[in-house]
Symmetry: C2
Subunit: 384 residues, 2 copies
């Protein structure tokens, strides 16, 4: 089997989510947003798919020439090839982009063989407990504007089945944010509201000082929080070593730091966190995410998977170690999570009443793609 | 798909290889030896196979009850299950045995899906350079009885296509062995005989002192050897740290040390070797061998695969990092390597004129099993 084409088809859809000036997502009035379907097609008529793939020029001009003519089952060779090409082209070949390519290759293999990806990898389980992962705080009444609002939202998520809840708190460009004391107040309000019924985590402002991070961490310990995520710039590994030494609450990271499994290896050796972290978008696909999981397993270190979507879910279902939770979100009281992907006929991460997300048993990644929707909303103008 | 049976069928064959009192293989007059075929069968009529599986009682009484009723595609779950059961049952659930089970599960998946295992893993290449790996030294004229005999055998291997050659030298129970100076003499004789045409490696007596190992290593550096393997007991990690610090020749290990990928992780952190090592028999299958490769890749450490056979070959063809060589052997001037497996219609590791071994493109591990031979030579008496 040979790859004959790699395409990126942008399409519009009505969205209620947009990013603020600092890149954080919030609810907004409905508008036309853009998504992109990447398709890797073969001479045997079988294709693999993944959503994402921005900028589409990178797919068309950089990735396609690297893949056409190759055997799509040579995922390791192809991942190494695009990874090595990142060196001179990081501005287009981001880890997120090569992760989309790798996921499309896994989807293709699963479709070709009639198996869900997690079983190709070697299955470990078919469902994973999910945590409700909130959007960042805001200043909107009824939203996530007060500590008590987080508490109410946690209770609402508990009622929907979630057994765990993670706060993203207030961040710039909110003028008075960040505020360590207000972060702690929100964490306290959630614990007081839901009692011991939920595991709770905090992912706060990512650029706190050492002292601010230590203060928050100590307070989270008193509140019996489950983990503490990325309170400082992850490029300063020494600060994480310093923090991890002083806290008993598990510090989780690195998440957004560049360097794929190599960086996770260095963090383990340095003792820069208690639990490692990565998702298909952070490390560049399922292939390196499994490498990261295998690295962590070799050191007896837990790895929590960052972000949702089928690539992360299939990886979680093939890991021999926790990944304890699937990240479901980002959630907000104003938004219906299950209505966000009109380009799919069904969502990728259905949750049962016990708060567990079930992996698709369909071939590949289990995308249930609404091709009519994508055709009807295709952006035909040449994209940037 | 569910596993319905796990069987171990011993059978006899005529062999010219036997172990001495220290466990080292040598040529002997032909006699009846025993091999064992492990079969994992499913309710859909598809089976996976692997040879090995001693003692058969462990397969029948310990492994079978753990596997029957399980989905054979849940390799990660099943590997964790048998690995955890090792704790109280190491005397039967050796890493070699659980490696046979894991390989049979990979073979099953490949047969079920019509794909060679290395493509399920994600292919990186379809051939690997081989090194001729000798048996240990002996005292038989025409065998491996003198330094010059090693030199002649290396030249013969070069003529057959091999581009690399690894000596196993003289070991007990030979009364005067081991002898560091004679090991070095053999290494020198090989280098002088083949010149720069071959990469050369030494795997000598495994219980030398620090000083003996350092002496040999320094001499190998002068002879431009490619790596230096297991000259000391691998349980003494500090000795390997000491040796690796003082030698420029790459020290390779651990190989036979227990502890799967966990032990390799500790060696990397300790700096106990330059290159890591493992094979399906050492770490318990393809599943943990790939974990070990991913661990090593995360640290930029090379991993050379120990031993031959299709499990190791498929792993090598799915690794994104070297594995530079496939170990072909053990070889001896008296023996025809390709005649050793009469239970197969064709050998698992055919080598081309350039000295590269090609991975099978047949489904699964590519065993070309002669079931008639196995039936005709089946051992029906209850084994121990």
């Amino acid at each position: 089997m040979k790859i004959v084409d790699v395409t990126a088809q942008p399409f519009t859809y009505r969205s209620q989510i947009a990013r603020d000036s600092e890149g954080h997502s919030h609810p907004v009035p409905e508008y036309d947003a853009t998504e992109c379907l990447v398709e890797i097609s073969t001479d045997e008529g079988i294709s693999g798919y993944c959503f994402g793939g921005h900028p589409v020029g990178a797919i068309r001009q950089v990735v396609k020439p690297m893949l056409v003519g190759e055997d799509p089952f040579y995922r390791e060779k192809l991942w190494q090839k695009v990874k090595q090409a990142q060196r001179g082209s990081r501005e287009v070949l981001s880890d997120r982009l090569i992760g989309v390519v790798d996921q499309a290759l896994w989807d293709l293999a699963g479709r070709a063989l009639g198996q869900p990806v997690y079983k190709l990898l070697g299955g470990a389980r078919d469902k994973v407990p999910a945590y409700a992962s909130t959007m960042c705080g805001d200043e909107v009444a009824g939203g996530l504007n007060t500590p008590e609002a987080y508490g109410e939202f946690a209770a609402q998520c508990r009622a929907e089945g979630y057994t765990a809840f993670k706060l993203h708190t207030w961040m710039p460009p909110i003028p008075w944010a960040p505020d360590p004391k207000r972060d702690v107040a929100a964490c306290r309000a959630v614990r007081e509201r839901v009692g011991d019924e939920m595991a709770l985590m905090l992912d706060c402002f990512h650029h706190y000082s050492r002292e601010e991070a230590l203060y928050i961490g100590k307070e989270l310990e008193k509140l019996d929080y489950h983990w503490f995520e990325e309170p400082m710039d992850e490029h300063n590994v020494s600060s994480y070593v310093w923090l991890t030494e002083q806290l008993s609450i598990p510090v989780l990271g690195p998440e957004t730091a560049e360097g794929q499994m190599f960086t996770r290896a260095e963090w383990i050796v340095r003792g820069a966190s208690d639990m490692s972290r990565g998702g298909v978008g952070d490390v560049g696909g399922i292939t390196p995410l499994m490498k990261t999981a295998h690295l962590c397993e070799s050191f007896g270190v837990r790895m929590e998977v960052h972000g949702g979507g089928p690539g992360n879910l299939h990886a979680l279902c093939a890991m021999g170690i926790p990944g304890e939770y699937y990240e479901r979100g980002l959630l907000h009281p104003f938004l219906d999570y299950e209505q966000r992907t009109p380009w799919l006929n069904s969502i990728v991460d259905p949750m049962d009443e016990a708060g567990c997300v079930h992996v698709s048993q369909q071939p590949g990644l289990g995308w249930d793609i609404n091709f009519d929707f994508i055709r009807a909303n295709a952006v035909t103008a040449p994209p940037g």
